[in-house]
Each structure stands twice: as C-alpha cells, then as structure tokens.
C-alpha cells in the first residue's frame, strides 16, 4: 500500500481556560491518500475545523496546546517551527475557509491577492504572476478574467468570491487542499457549482482534498472516504459507500435521517436528533460523547467506546455489531414516537391556556 499523504495519529487540541482544560479535539486519527477526497462531517463544535487548523499551525491562541502526531509526506507537523510550517502553508497544503465575504482583505484587488499567493513562496516576476493569476481565474470559471483581476472583492458575488479563494488555494498546486465549509454560506445552486469546480480541479490537479462540512448531501457528492466527528472525536470512519449504505453509529443515523429526500414516496417527517451538542468541551460527559442524545444509551456508555470495526469501516459505539440495521430502524421509530408525544404535549398546553 502506498504511503498515505497525511497520517494523523491521536491528535489532541486542548484549550486552557480559567475554568479548566477543554479537549476540543480528542485523540483523532485518520489517513488520507494521494488524490483522495476525505469528507469530515460533524455539527458545530465537533472539532472538525480546529483539528485541521491545528495541522497548519493556524491556531494562534496562546492557551491552546496540540499533541499527537500528524505526518505529511513523512514530515511531522505537530511541533514544527512556524517558519517551516509557513513554507508548507499555501504551497504544499492550502486551506480555504467558509465565509467568502470576509476572507479577502477588502482594500486590495483580487489580482493583488492572487499574486501575493504566487509570490509568497517563489520569486516570480510580477508580470508572470499576473498572467498566471488570469489563468487561475479562468480555471475556476470567472468570466472576463483579465478585467476582473483589477476588481475588488466587494465587487464579486458570494459564489464568485469563493471561486477566487479556491483559485488562491490552488495557485501553487498544493498536494493537499483543506476546504472548511466552502459551500455553507452559499445558496444551493451556487453550492452545486462550487462542488463541481472542486471535483474538476481535483481530477485535473490530482490534489487530495479534506472537505469539512456539516452537510451529508455535500459529502455524498464529493467524498471518497468519510470521517464522522462528534464532541472532538471520530465516531465513524469508512468509504462513502460503506458509511452511506450501512452506517453503524447512531449519530450517523441521525445525520442521514435528517437529510431531506427529494424522491421520497410520500410526505415524510424530517427526523431530528433530539437534544443539542455540548455547549463547550468543558461540559463533555465521561465515556461516549453522544450518550446524552442517544436513544439506545445504557450503562456501558459511561465508558469511552473504542474505534473498532470490520475492514476499513470502523465506529465508536458499544451497541452489538450484528444488528445495527435493526437498531437503526428502532431508532427512527423511537424518534418519531417521541416527536408525536412532544407535539401532543404542546397541543395540550395550548388548549389548557385557551381554556383558562
């Protein structure tokens, strides 16, 4: 087996505060091969962004500490000096962020930003950089790139700006592109366009992509492999087919159940996962982080479940592996029942209020 491009083992990111130490990323491990797309899924606060940012040394908070190992092409990133990391940033590993409205310094033109990306690592004459910038804009599908090069970020629409940011990321042909919620701030049509773009670029440039998102639909379109995170930990890992067709973890069931299906036979209640994610990593319960919201919770859940499974498809859950599909059905029914009960209670309260 060829050596993976990125090999992360037991990555931990801890934030110290007056109230104690918060483990925002808790022993995360995963691999990424050349040319692969890894979809990292989870709710806000699951640690998905923080884990990727810590790889590049982009966490500037002095109260944060990063432990564990992350090897990129054999080089250890955790603990690497900032000067060396800076060499990797933008050149071998590029990161694209969520909000295109605020991602670009508003006082400089788009051309300036692109040439800055190009000249940050190599001595490139300005004219050459400009030409390359035009090529990049054309590649990501910006019409009339010559003229648009001298436009300011606020003169672009959200979708266009995101394309520019992606172009900036790919300027130096990185081996790895990390895209942190690239489509969240965009409407659905633009979302599809940006995903198409990422797919095309991945094929043409051969870069690996880590796609961070909370949207399972986005993952299903682009990812080769999937990593589901909750409460700073990996709760399920596998290929796209494995995770979507035979999900093992109750949280993944919830995520998949909450995706609206266009082709459903009849009107179909949108399932929700009861409860909400922990407000802060300081409040994390011992044992399985998902226990407070899981329908199947039992005493063993007070211990931390190991990440285990058959072949490459692993999950962190104590429930018996033999009948996960059956348990999934029960979960759906249970959740639906709970919903009905809740609606019923709410209706009663309203009636009482009116009667009074």
């Amino acid at each position: 087996m060829p050596e993976p491009l990125l090999e992360v083992t037991d990555l931990c990111v801890t934030f110290r505060s007056r109230r104690g130490a918060a483990r925002v990323v808790d022993r995360l491990s995963f691999d990424l091969g050349e040319g692969e797309v890894l979809g990292v899924v989870g709710e806000s606060g699951s640690g998905k962004s923080v884990s990727m940012m810590s790889l590049l040394g982009l966490i500037r908070d002095p109260n944060a500490s990063v432990e564990g190992s992350a090897r990129f092409r054999g080089r250890e990133l955790v603990g690497m000096a900032d000067a060396e990391l800076r060499d990797l940033r933008g050149r071998d590993i590029a990161m694209v962020f969520q909000d295109p409205m605020t991602s670009l310094t508003p006082v400089y033109t788009v051309g300036w930003h692109l040439t800055e990306a190009l000249r940050a690592h190599r001595r490139v004459p300005k004219a050459v950089a400009r030409r390359r910038a035009v090529e990049l804009l054309a590649e990501v599908g910006i019409p009339d790139p010559h003229r648009r090069l001298d436009d300011y970020p606020h003169q672009f629409s959200g979708g266009m700006r995101q394309r520019v940011v992606i172009a900036m990321g790919l300027a130096n042909n990185p081996a790895l592109l990390i895209a942190d919620e690239p489509t969240t701030a965009l409407d659905v049509t633009t979302q599809a366009q940006v995903l198409d773009l990422l797919r095309r670029l991945q094929r043409e440039h051969g870069s690996s992509i880590v796609l961070i998102t909370h949207d399972m639909a986005v993952v299903s379109q682009l990812a080769d492999r999937v990593l589901v995170m909750y409460g700073g930990r990996a709760v399920e890992k596998g290929t796209r087919r494995e995770v979507f067709h035979a999900p093992q973890h109750p949280y993944t069931w919830g995520l998949l159940g909450s995706v609206p299906r266009a082709r459903a036979a009849r009107v179909h209640r949108l399932a929700t996962i009861p409860g909400s994610p922990p407000a802060s990593a300081l409040d994390a319960p011992p044992g399985c982080p998902f226990a407070p919201r899981c329908v199947h919770v039992h005493e063993t859940c007070l211990q931390r479940p190991p990440l285990e499974g058959a072949g490459g498809h692993v999950d962190a859950c104590w429930l018996p592996r033999e009948d996960r599909a059956g348990l999934r059905r029960i979960t759906a029914e249970q959740v639906a029942e709970d919903e009905v009960a809740r609606v019923h209670d709410a209706a009663e309260t309203v009636e009482e209020g009116i009667d009074r």
């Binding site: 800076r86 933008g90 590029a94 694209v96 605020t102 006082v107 990306a117």
Partner: protein, 322 residues
Amino acid sequence: MLSFTLRRTASAVLVLFSISVLVFLIFFATPGVDPAARIAGRNADQATLRAVQHEFGLDQPLPVRYALMMKHLFVDRDLTSFVNRGVRVIPQITQAVPTTLSLVIGAAVIWMVVGIAMGTGAAAWRGRAADPVIVVLGVLGVSIPVYWLGEVVNLLTQSRLHDGVFSWVPPLGYVGITTDPLQWALHLLFPWLTLAALYAGIYARVLRSEMLGALEEDYVRTARAKGVSERRILLKHALRCSLIPVVSLFGLDFGALVGGSALLTEVVFGLPGVGRLTYTALQNLDLPVILGTVLYAAFFVVLANAVVDLGYAALDPRVRRA
C-alpha cells in the same frame, strides 16, 4: 459622485452659516455686552458710537444686524479690531496663519510617525513587555494637560536646564521660515514636541485598538494560510486596513488645529498664531476679531470634514460605489 460632492458642499455651506449665526448670537445678543462700544473702539466719542450704531443697524432687529455685520466682515472688509485701533481684522488673521501652520504641520509629522510606530509596535508585541509600556505612554499623552506640559518644558528649557543641556534653546517666540530657517526650527522644536506628545498618545491608542481588531479578522487568517510572513501580514494587511479610521481622524484633528485649536500651545510658547489671536480677542471681548477668528476656525473644521468624507473613498474601495 458629482451629486454627492454638490450635496456635501451645500451641507458645508449651511453649517458655516449656522455657525456664523451662533457666534453672532453668543456675542451680540447677550445682555451685558455692548456691541457698539466694542466695534467703535476704546474711548470712542459719541459721534463715532452713533455712526457705528447706525452702520451696523444696532437699533434694528437681529437679522438685519446679522446681515450688516456679515457685510462689513466679508464685503467691505473694513472691520477693525477693538483692541488694536484701526487694524483690520482680516489681515490680522492672515498674518497669523503661517505661524499656526508651521506649528501644526511640524507637530503633525512628528505625532503621526511616532503614533503609528507606537500603535503598530503595541499590536505586534502584544502580550510582551513593550505593550503595556506603550499603552501607559499613550494614556499619559491623553491625560497630561497640554498647556501644563508646555509650561514644564519651558521650565526646563528656559530656566532650570537652560545653562546646561538646553543652552541652545532660544527664548519664546516665533521666527519666520523665510527669515531664518534654523531659528524657525529651533523656536518651534519644543512646541512641536509638546503638541505632538498629546496627539501621539491618542493615535497610538486608536491604532493599537484597530490593529488588534484587524488581526482577529478572517482576511488575516486567509493570509496566514497562504504562507505570508507575519511581518507582511502586520504591515500590509492589518495596518493598511487600520489606517483608514486613523487617517480620517487625522483629517479632522488637523483641520481643527489649523483653525486655532492649538491656542493653548501658542499661548504657552508665545507663538503669534491664530489661536493666540483668538484667545486675546476673547479675553478683551474684541468682538470683530472674535467673529473673524471663529469663522475662520469653523471654516477649516468644515473643510476638513468634507475632505475626510471625500478622502475616505480614496482609502476604502468599498465606499467608492456608494
């Protein structure tokens, strides 16, 4: 853009008019102050007083009085000072302007350079030893009364250390730049430093606060992810964006100072600028001169406001479309 400029100009004219009315009301409509005597001059005889009363319509309703006063000030330009008999108001002002300009421009250069350096330094070295020092210096700059600082500087340079370290410091006063450039600079050196001390503190604080905010912005995170060096991020990204509010603030302060807000510094250092002229006029209730200097000051403030508004567009591309 054109309609914007026109509207801005109209608004500025309106403000100037309002200020002239305000000044007029303060000084001419307050009981206890006899405008006729003030305009006619000290020891004016009855005939002159009557003439003045007639010319300025002092027995007529307020609006007429106002109109006549404006006419004398701007059209006839024969308004003369109450204190310095026969000396016209407008030439007095124009003679004082170069002094004020010399003081303000020199101080401005110093305070901008020092203030920006201090503010950037404080942001760059945040959390390390230099930051609280710079913050404290900034706070002191804002808290020390400028006239007191000037007096203390005088104490040191003219008296206590005059025989030693500061023997080269000339006595208080002003020398024109065309007369003797070296003396001009020497006479202005300590006034420059005193005035700059106050404003450098203010600007360092404002810039520091803006820079710290800018360094938390998303675009700095993007630049870092591109592999840009911290120094470049500080100077080209954070500073460039933080300078926008600082420059507009500078415009307003500069305008106000040229208009005479430096009067305390001028008085303390004996510089015959517009500020000191205003102050002496106020002390002596020299109404014609007061009217002239206050309108002059207001004009510059309004001008500065307008320039800043227009200049904002040059600095911040986001505003240009509006």
